[in-house]
């Protein structure tokens, strides 16, 4: 890297916002994915979006790869820099620019923390539904770049369903504007659609216009316990068949139930084969009707135990089990690999069966937390990354999980992104022509290949 680059960046963002120290740089060599670290050559922290654009232009001028980083919670290595690359932090770009209660939209900078934004919106009596698991730390810019999902996905959609418009810098640092502050907008190409989920490979987001909705007036949580996996699956199918769209619908297997009970002593039945957590929301009358219908379905199909939350406190207790599930599993072994292979809703039972078989074949501990409503199954593989022999089995198991997911008509990633971790499997899902098309698009928009290279389509 050219020696004068730190000075160049310092002229744009100020000396204090250019990190050159070895220790500081090492703190941006990783994200939440279980992948080897890659040391960036520099870390730059612009405090204005104009400076962000100039940073991009400078990287392009010198042909230096750049990786945008919000909070670094990515689970697929999307924020691990390219060798000798520059990491650009969005943490200082954390202003909520406008909340328009009359027209139901908000404009934000990319570094705003998701949960802070959702809280601010809630305090105005409005609702921003996407709730990725990392929402307390993740940034909205990261959510858009990864098209983050969340537990409310089935009923309320994912991040892409809330992006009305974007400002972003192209590889040369030119500001591109797309979309509008209106729900309907067909002016120009749908570049927002192109950027959402592009993992920082096609442009650098500097402003986001997000749609807001009114919040549901009531909600009801129900926990159903089953002594048979198939009955739990049938219940999910029956709820959907009854034209009920729950806000959330979560599945936990026996291994996970036992881990949660050991850890949190929440009073879960440790002999249960499966557990469903269902929440319906909306107008109070509709909630009452749907909750009653869900309870009837659960009983008819054979839930051995049914708990309907009587108040907010009980609702919290029910959800506590789900919220602590990942922690409870993570504590069992040093390393937790989180995959998010996703299959069509009807194939969830087959996927869960396959996961049990794969765990046995490769002698691994795999818990199953599924969101059958959105068809995502998250099998946390519990391992120790220092054990090379076991790590090989983990690798093989992951490849097989992907194969099964694709055979069942599913996808490699429901919400964590492809990043570095899954780039080598992408061919299996979308095929060679799709990858070539993506690469040609990337080459045309980013001729020097500076925008987060190596992610999604590989090198």
């Amino acid at each position: 890297m050219a020696n004068h680059l730190p000075r160049k960046f310092a002229e744009i963002v100020g000396k204090d916002n250019v990190l050159t120290n070895e220790a500081d740089r090492h703190a941006y060599a990783y994200d939440a994915a279980v992948l080897p670290p890659e040391l960036p050559s520099l870390v730059v922290r612009p405090e204005t979006t104009e400076a962000l654009g100039q940073v991009v232009a400078t990287c392009n001028e010198y042909g230096v790869p750049l990786t945008i980083r919000g909070s670094g919670t990515n689970l697929s290595g999307g924020t691990i820099p390219a060798p000798e690359g520059v990491v650009v932090l969005t943490g200082a770009l954390d202003r909520i620019l406008e909340i328009n209660e009359a027209d139901l939209y908000a404009e934000v900078e990319p570094g705003v923390i998701t949960a802070n934004f959702a809280r601010e919106i809630a305090s105005r009596g409005l609702f921003y539904p996407p709730d990725p698991g990392s929402q307390d730390v993740s940034t909205l810019g990261g959510n858009v770049a990864e098209n983050a999902g969340g537990l409310r996905g089935l009923k309320y959609g994912v991040t892409k369903d809330y992006v009305l418009g974007l400002h972003f810098y192209d590889a040369a640092g030119e500001l591109v504007k797309t979309g509008a502050r209106t729900v309907k907008c067909v002016s120009g190409l749908n570049l927002s659609g192109l950027l959402v989920g592009s993992e920082g490979t096609l442009g650098v987001i500097s402003r986001i216009i997000l749609k807001l909705v009114p919040p549901p007036k009531a909600s009801q949580a129900i926990m159903a316990v089953f002594d048979d996996l198939m009955k739990a699956s049938e219940t999910v199918a029956a709820i959907i068949a009854a034209k009920i769209v729950p806000a959330t619908l979560e599945y936990m297997d026996n291994f996970t139930i036992r881990a949660v009970e050991d850890f949190a002593h929440a009073g879960l039945p440790t002999d249960a084969k499966a557990l469903l957590l269902i929440e319906v929301d909306g107008h109070p009358a509709q909630v009452a009707e749907e909750a009653a219908a869900v309870a009837t379905i659960c009983k008819r199909i054979g839930a051995v135990n049914l708990q309907v939350a009587a108040d907010a406190g009980e609702r919290d207790t029910l959800w506590q089990a789900r919220r602590t599930a990942l922690s409870a599993l993570a504590r069992l072994r040093p390393t937790t690999v989180l995959e998010d292979a996703t299959v069509p809703r009807s194939k969830i039972p087959a996927m869960i069966g396959a996961l049990e078989r794969i765990a046995a074949t490769y002698r691994l501990s795999i818990g199953t937390l599924a969101t059958p409503a959105t068809a995502i199954s998250i099998p946390p593989i519990l391992t120790d990354k220092r054990d090379q022999e076991e790590w090989k089995r983990v690798d093989a198991a992951i490849a097989e999980i992907f194969d099964v997911a694709l055979e069942l008509g599913g996808t490699l990633s429901g919400e964590h992104g492809i990043g570095l971790a899954k780039a080598r499997y992408l061919d299996k899902e979308i095929g060679r022509p799709s990858i070539l098309y993506s690469k040609r698009l990337k080459a045309a928009l980013d001729p020097k290949g500076i925008l987060n290279p190596g992610k999604i389509t590989g090198e």
């Binding site: 220790a23 500081d24 090492h26 703190a27 941006y28 060599a29 993570a330 040093p334 390393t335």
Partner: protein
């Protein structure tokens, strides 16, 4: 030097089992008071743990940068309390600081303070008593409500800080040691008052003795109590830490008591959590006794509320309105020990007061023991948020269960010119027993008029 570096890396590899439990989810970013100010990954637990791991794996060759970032930490335990994977962050940081101190050595000032003063009780007391006599010459009182001073002649030395002056005489010099037999209640506690209460807030210790007397609880309170060791431990000086633990165990190890109580959140959490976890070079027999003592160590409010049961107030709510008080949760009490309801119960027991919760009652005040000495600007930025939240409640009084937090909060309030007083929750409770009540807003207004 090179072989020393190898040794440092070997030591770090010994805690590899703890380091590897961090799954890099980044949840600690949402609770870390330092990260909230600087936004730098190397300042949050995930970043520091990664740096220690890279150093152990020899990806980082220079431990100096890692050490500097490791010290950017209040040891408040917010990260550990919210960690989904249960990473023992404080264990990791305290051990790593000890390894770093072994490699870099203790700074000359700390060497004098820890090895020279803290370890030698009588010398420490002698220096403090001389300082107490002369401090009036060098400082001038600035806020009579808080009782703080600022430097008269050496602003550079004390850095514009508004500090609570040393008591004219420390608690232990005015109050005889005690070992009373159990009375009708059959209860007996050991009372460990802690350095800051002894030397700066002796009235808190006096108040506690009064409360224990009122409840007919026998007290074992020896003189010669040594520092709990947290300042030495947080500077990586495990030798001094273990020496201090040993001195204290000689006094308290075989004490006949149901509980060891303290008015200091940091002392309580150090004795309860860190003595058993980190004084691991001491003989096994002593470690067993440490575990027993840790088991029965309690914050004073926890003891009074959960073990004794608090007394019913003998008087009604004042007609001219209660005194508004807000409570600051010390990190070492709430996040480390889960004690938050008990001090509030002590306050609620006195109808003369009305508790108004501040925003972020459990967010760190920015003191962090010696952190505030090394990184005063950052500490002040964190402290000002606390001050703003206190002022927003309209309270005339802040109660908190940690004398170190009191020092920091009084500095922040005094610098802003706020007329808000500080107290320990036990002082509010004591008023219900003695009937000596603080004047309410209206009576005070009358007096002024």
């Amino acid at each position: 030097m090179k072989s020393d570096l190898r040794h440092l890396m070997d030591l770090l590899r010994q805690i590899d089992d703890q380091l590897v439990t961090c799954m890099r989810c980044g949840t600690c970013q949402s609770v870390c008071p330092i990260y909230k100010e600087t936004g730098l990954e190397a300042h949050v637990a995930r970043g520091k743990i990664a740096l220690l791991e890279f150093l152990a794996d020899e990806l980082i060759k220079d431990p100096k940068g890692v050490n500097e970032r490791l010290n950017m930490c209040l040891l408040c335990g917010s990260c550990e309390a919210s960690c989904p994977s249960g990473v023992k962050v404080l264990d990791i940081f305290l051990k790593a600081r000890a390894f770093m101190t072994g490699y870099f050595g203790l700074s000359p000032v700390k060497r004098i303070v820890f090895r020279g003063l803290l370890k030698h009780n009588r010398l420490f007391d002698a220096v403090v008593s001389v300082a107490a006599k002369f401090q009036g010459i060098f400082t001038k009182p600035v806020n009579d409500m808080i009782g703080s001073s600022c430097a008269r002649v050496f602003p550079g030395l004390i850095g514009g800080r508004h500090f609570i002056p040393l008591a004219a005489k420390p608690f232990h010099a005015t109050t005889p040691a005690r070992d009373t037999p159990r009375g009708a209640s059959g209860r007996k506690v050991a009372f460990y008052y802690g350095c800051v209460v002894d030397k700066m807030f002796p009235h808190i210790a006096e108040t506690i003795l009064g409360v224990l007397d009122a409840h007919d609880i026998a007290v074992y309170m020896p003189h010669g109590q040594a520092c709990c060791g947290i300042p030495a431990l947080s500077s990586g000086d495990r030798a001094t830490f273990e020496s201090l633990v040993t001195s204290n165990m000689a006094l308290f190890g075989d004490a006949d008591c149901d509980a060891l109580v303290t008015p200091c959140a940091s002392c309580t959490s150090t004795i309860k959590k860190l003595w058993p976890r980190l004084a691991t070079d001491l003989p096994e027999a002593m470690q067993a006794k440490i575990r027993d003592l840790a088991e029965k160590t309690m914050d004073i409010s926890e003891y009074l509320v959960n073990e004794v049961g608090i007394a019913q107030p003998p008087f009604p709510q004042p007609e001219d309105g209660a005194v508004v008080v807000t409570y600051h949760d010390p990190c070492h009490l709430k996040k480390t020990l889960g004690i938050a309801a008990e001090p509030r119960a002590l306050i609620a027991a006195n109808p003369h007061y009305r508790l108004v919760e501040m925003d972020g009652a459990d967010s760190c005040c920015g003191s962090g023991g010696s952190f505030t000495l090394q990184h005063y600007d950052l500490s002040k930025r964190i402290g000002r948020r606390k001050r703003d939240n206190i002022i927003a409640t309209g309270a005339r009084l802040v109660a908190t269960s940690c004398p170190a937090c009191m020092l920091q909060i009084s500095d922040m309030l005094s610098q802003a010119g706020d007329r808000v007083a500080l107290c320990h929750p036990v002082e509010i409770y004591a008023e219900t027993l003695t009937g000596h009540l603080r004047p309410t807003a209206k009576t005070e207004a009358k007096e002024v008029a």
